[in-house]
Amino acid sequence: MMNCKEATRAIEKKAEGKLSFWQRVQLNVHLVMCKPCWRFKAHWNIISLFLEKTPAKHKLSNSDKNLILNKIDDEI
C-alpha cells in the first residue's frame, strides 16, 4: 500500500506521465481513501491554475523608468 509521502510524489510523476499502470492504480486507490492527499492534489490544481497567468499588479514607478532612460542617455 502506498503511503501519503509516496502518494504526494506519485501525483507529480503522474502529471508528467512517468507513472506505471500499477502505480497509477495504487495512487488512485490511495486518493479515494485519503482525504489529506486528495486535498494536497486539489490545492496544487488551484496553484497551477493561478500560475498560468501572472498578475498585472507589479509595475515600475516613473522614477524607476526615468532611471533606465537616464542610463540610456548616459551610455548611448
Binding site: 509521502k5 496544487w44 497551477s48 540610456i72
Partner: protein, 186 residues
C-alpha cells in the same frame, strides 16, 4: 535598425511587462530592476539583430530570459547558495511511516477567487518562494513559471532525474504548506 529614440519608447511601453516577468523569478526587487535596465542596454548593443517591424517584446523577453539564466548560473557557482541545509520538509510534514503529521487544511485558495485575492496569492507566493532552498526554488521556477520539461531542468541544475523528483516534491510540499499557513494567518 533600432534607434535610441525607439529604445526610449520601448522603455515606456514594455518595461512594466519585463519587470512583471522577472520579479516572480528573482527574489530581490533591486536585482529585478537592474535586469530590466540591462535588458534595454543589451537590446541596443545588439540592435543590428533586431528586424524592424518584428515584435519588440518577444525579442526583449529573449534577452531578459538569458540574463536571468546567467544570473542563476552565477549564483549556483557560489556554494553557499546551493546548499540545501534546512531540515527536509518531508521529515517535518510526514511521520516515519510516511503518514501526514500536518494534514492540508480544508480551506484554501479557490479557483473562482476575484482579482484582489489572486493578487494576494502572488504576494504570498513570492514570499514563500523566498523560503525555499535555492535548487528547489529554481526547479519550481523552471517547471511552473518557465514550463521547462524535466530533462531541461536536470541539465540546467546538473542533477539526476531522481534528484529532480526529490526537489520538485519538496518544493511542492513546502510551497503548499507555506501558502496555506500565510493565507490562513493573513
Amino acid at each position: 535598425m533600432l534607434t535610441k529614440e525607439q529604445l526610449r519608447d520601448w522603455v515606456n511601453e514594455y518595461s512594466d511587462e519585463l519587470y512583471r516577468f522577472i520579479i516572480m523569478r528573482v527574489q530581490d526587487d533591486a536585482l529585478a530592476k537592474d535586469l530590466v535596465q540591462e535588458t534595454f542596454l543589451a537590446a541596443f548593443k545588439s540592435r543590428s539583430r533586431y528586424k524592424q517591424g518584428s515584435e519588440p517584446l518577444a525579442w526583449l523577453y529573449t534577452i531578459i530570459k538569458n540574463k536571468m539564466i546567467d544570473h542563476y548560473r552565477a549564483r549556483q557557482r557560489k556554494p553557499t547558495h546551493s546548499l540545501d541545509d534546512q531540515p527536509h520538509i518531508d521529515a517535518v510534514l510526514f511521520d516515519s511511516k510516511g503518514g501526514w503529521k500536518y494534514k492540508p487544511a480544508s480551506r484554501f485558495f479557490s479557483a473562482d477567487m476575484g482579482k484582489a485575492e489572486r493578487d494576494e496569492f502572488w504576494d504570498i507566493l513570492r514570499d514563500c518562494q523566498g523560503d525555499l532552498p535555492e535548487k528547489q526554488r529554481l526547479a519550481f521556477v523552471f517547471k511552473y513559471l518557465e514550463g521547462w520539461d524535466s530533462e531541461q531542468i536536470c541539465k540546467e541544475l546538473d542533477i539526476s532525474s531522481s534528484n529532480y523528483w526529490v526537489l520538485i516534491h519538496r518544493a511542492k510540499l513546502k510551497l503548499r504548506q507555506c501558502l496555506e499557513t500565510k493565507w490562513l494567518n493573513a
